[in-house]
Symmetry: C2
Subunit: 156 residues, 2 copies
């Protein structure tokens, strides 16, 4: 399927009080090439393998293939992933007709908080909660695949 | 699981008359790093995603995870793979208590024929058919992931 999403920085922690769920995510990458990433993710008590293609020019849309897998397999695959595991807490935050997924990064990316919203098409209008900051859609340095190699704490 | 196998060149086409099956294989790689490869394969009317880890020192043993997938998904994933698709015909050839898989490569690897045998352990003894030539187990240039980038026809 084609995944369409927009990504924003977050300006306050007001989203926490509105969250309907909170889950720990640990993930690694078998491949971090911008034209094809292969991700192993453990999210709560489930695990997934996700392959993403290259983004369109605006960075909003990307081919994505995902398959659930056994957690024990995911743990083995995480061992052979590239260096730079991503560890984060994801809050699911409903606002208006959308669900915003807000990721609080841990470890080497501690301090970074990113919100994503999935859309039905690239021009879909949606109301923005007041804790939503600057848009960073398509900025490669905010890709999780890049945050493993160049973590937030190393940025100037 | 851990896959243990040995790989050989082939000295004649005598295996063809002994084959119990013959299937076309088309495959591409989302990642060809020797420590972690991600392969998309269409084999006959089925498709698979296969992840392999790093080999042990002798090249006989390697962690492998495989998942069957829809052919339509595999076709889409082949489009985002690295350049250098592998196209080959695989013969399954029983000999003594083993099945040898003999791959006749096509396209840019035309002329190359490789036989593989899967073993239960690294020191397992097996009888060799007389069409089996030099062992190439662990020689990275014979990895399918490398044959896409440095095809047989370009070798000196």
């Amino acid at each position: 399927m084609i995944e369409i999403e927009r990504k924003y920085l977050v300006t306050s922690d007001a989203y926490r009080g509105k969250a309907i769920s909170k889950e720990r995510i640990i993930q690694g990458f078998l491949n971090t090439h911008p034209e094809r990433t292969v991700r192993v993710r453990i999210k709560g008590d489930k695990a997934y393998l996700t392959i993403k293609g290259k983004s369109n020019e605006s960075g909003t849309s990307r081919y994505e293939w995902e398959q659930e897998m056994a957690i024990t397999d995911a743990e083995k695959l995480l061992e052979i992933c590239e260096e730079g595991r991503i560890d984060k807490i994801r809050y699911s935050v409903p606002f208006d007709n959308q669900i915003f997924e807000v990721d609080e990064f841990l470890g080497a990316n501690d301090g970074l908080v990113i919100a994503e919203v999935e859309l039905n098409n690239e021009t879909e209008y949606f109301d923005k909660p007041d804790w939503l900051g600057k848009e960073v859609t398509g900025d490669i340095k905010y890709y999780n695949s890049q945050l493993g190699k160049q973590p937030f704490k190393t940025w100037k």
